[in-house]
Symmetry: none
Subunit: 215 residues, 4 copies
DNA sequence: TATGAATGAGCATTCATTCAT
DNA sequence: GATGAATGAATGCTCATTCAT
């Protein structure tokens, strides 16, 4: 017999409380921005109270920075899980692009947070010691694919890996981030699967055409 | 006898006041977002007072919509001034792209406002009767160039003009909009002229390689 | 016929509103101190709302400084109204002391504010440009009486006017300021008229005995 | 076998913790008043945590009362240590005054607490059973000196010992308690040793002149 | 048209205090 | 006896907005 049955409602769950506040904040900041997000709304969504927000994070701004840090930690892990070693250069690049673009559509909060941070000119990103020292390892992956392709005579040589990576990301980012204004002004909605498929195919062909073009 | 001497300073400039409030609002909304911008700051920058903001625009949100409308009116005029008729298809497309990208860097407030509007999922854009009916005529310009190029055997055929236009815009938009986060995570700052030149050249070559590639 | 009868409730009264807030603040700060006084209580007592407190004074602390300034302005005026020119030195000094002591009992808020300011080590007094330059003219009055008395052979000479003034004020201040703790520990309540009369008489005799004593 | 190794650091010091909280509270209440002092600051200064404050004292207000009680217990002990039996009446009174005034300057927290309690009109002092029954024995000391002096023909007779004691204390209290406001308004700083010496000498002469004056 | 005065609702943050271990 | 976690009720202050002139 259990004299002490597990409580249905866990009242003490420090790590859980912290995490729930962080998740709620991620969602609210992504939706409303730093100024627009409300601390009471964050606490309520987290199922906690406002006081705990300050207990764990100190202030709204520090919570915002913690959200940015957590977001990038997630992204870094995702990147590290990607294995392109078994693929030929052309397929590898296509797989990388597809994976990144999928991540953007699967994590809509990501774009809200990034746009917000650009609105603030990256000042909170810079204020984080954790983040300001992060350098994305994925650029090295791109460099490696470009080198393999060039050595095999499939790609043109002399391509700057960072420029190429930024271009590749931007193709997917722009249509995800700006889908509402694009829709308002052109009538096209890239949230629709088929429209997104079409333009993504164009993007892949465009990247490939560039890689294979003569200098 | 002067029982009522004339006031020394009587400033009445209705159209000027309205315009100054609109300009100030554009700048503040771009910098701080809809929630973050303050009506008193807007009035002060405009050299007016809060009451006039309400007199002319009714509310903060309506002022925000007026800013969006004004922004697009400017853009539409800019587009209409562009004359590509004398150029060959390849040069025409390059000139169009270059012109659009330049506009983005010359009007940083533009990007702040667009990003903010995407944060709000385009709801204010939709609420404007003026804007929701606007269809950008530039897509027709793109279609025309594509047709001319295909007819001349220089471009592949079957390209969707809207997808191509969106891709072209996105290349410039992404590096302008996200320059702060890109800088934070990669160390590269596309606000620097030479870095921007390099990637823009890559973009032009990429668009061109795609246009000229076989289906 | 009056087509426009005066309104019973005056809604617009800038100077009145400001003054009522200041009066309410004086009372609340005297009773509860700077930390203990509540902005909402002040506004309510003033018959205004919290927003106006900030409109007119900027912050709770600045309001506190304004209260100190106003308090001393009142005191300075009171001092300037005192005319001792027609009295003999001994009577003049007695009249001055009596007048000051009466002021302390007639303005209980005065003592609360002064004690509070001493609790804060005078930092708000120093922060006021108006106050930090005030030098009480009453010391000159004391000096003049002392000189007259010494010249007439009635007073000892060489008395420092400021020390004497401080001593004189302190006699009345201490029993007014500390009447509660004195009462708690000795059972005597100097708020009672007769008890206050007795000790005040002792104080007058003491000052006089000193003035007339040999060096 | 050690299944439960002893904790390396086990700090259990009940009496020490209580005392450190009391000391920290004395300092904080003296500096900031009852409302201005913060429980977390008190705990931190005490090197303990907020919970223990409630464990030992029940509430912030009860802690405040405990501080008052402790303060007076210290004072009472100090008084009881004073031995004036070997001195002549005039010297005895001077020694008593000097001793009391020195205590005020040596214990600045004392004045902060007393002023604060007067701000609250002595309500917490009254709420303490320990304190409300205390009657300072020092008044009996004064009475005894006065009687001795009168019997010896050195002092005038009929002096109320309590009034005299209060006057004597007040002389030192006022310049210590109000040194900041006095400094702000007159420029004199009685924290300076020489200035304090001068006025204290005046005070001693004044008391003596009164004692020796004719009725 | 223009402006100082006024307001209520809401904001981030802090407080003393209590709970669970 | 001691401590980290949790909370509700403020608290000072700001916001967009409106009133009266």
């Amino acid at each position: 017999m259990d004299s002490k049955p597990p409580k249905l409602v866990v009242k003490r769950d420090p790590e859980g409380t912290r995490r729930r506040i962080l998740e709620a904040a991620k969602s609210q900041f992504a939706k409303f921005g730093l100024a627009g997000a409300r601390t009471d709304a964050i606490s309520e969504v987290a199922g906690s109270n406002e006081r705990m927000l300050y207990y764990y994070f100190g202030s709204k701004e520090l919570l915002y920075v913690a959200v940015l840090e957590s977001m990038y930690a997630d992204y870094a892990q995702k990147e590290s899980e990607l294995d392109l070693s078994g693929l030929q250069p052309r397929e590898a690049m296509a797989a990388l692009a597809t994976s990144i673009w999928a991540h953007l559509w699967d994590n809509p909060e990501w774009i809200g947070l990034i746009n917000n941070e650009n609105l603030h000119q990256g000042r909170y990103l810079k204020s984080s010691e954790k983040l300001s020292e992060t350098i994305s390892p994925v650029v090295e992956v791109v460099r490696s694919i470009l080198t393999r392709g060039a050595d095999a005579g499939q790609f043109r040589s002399g391509i700057d890996p960072l420029d190429f990576y930024v271009t590749l990301v931007g193709m997917g980012y722009y249509i995800a981030s700006n889908r509402f204004t694009i829709n308002a002004f052109t009538g096209r909605d890239y949230a629709h699967w088929s429209d997104r498929q079409n333009i993504s195919e164009m993007h892949l062909e465009m990247l490939d055409a560039y890689l294979r073009s003569a200098t």
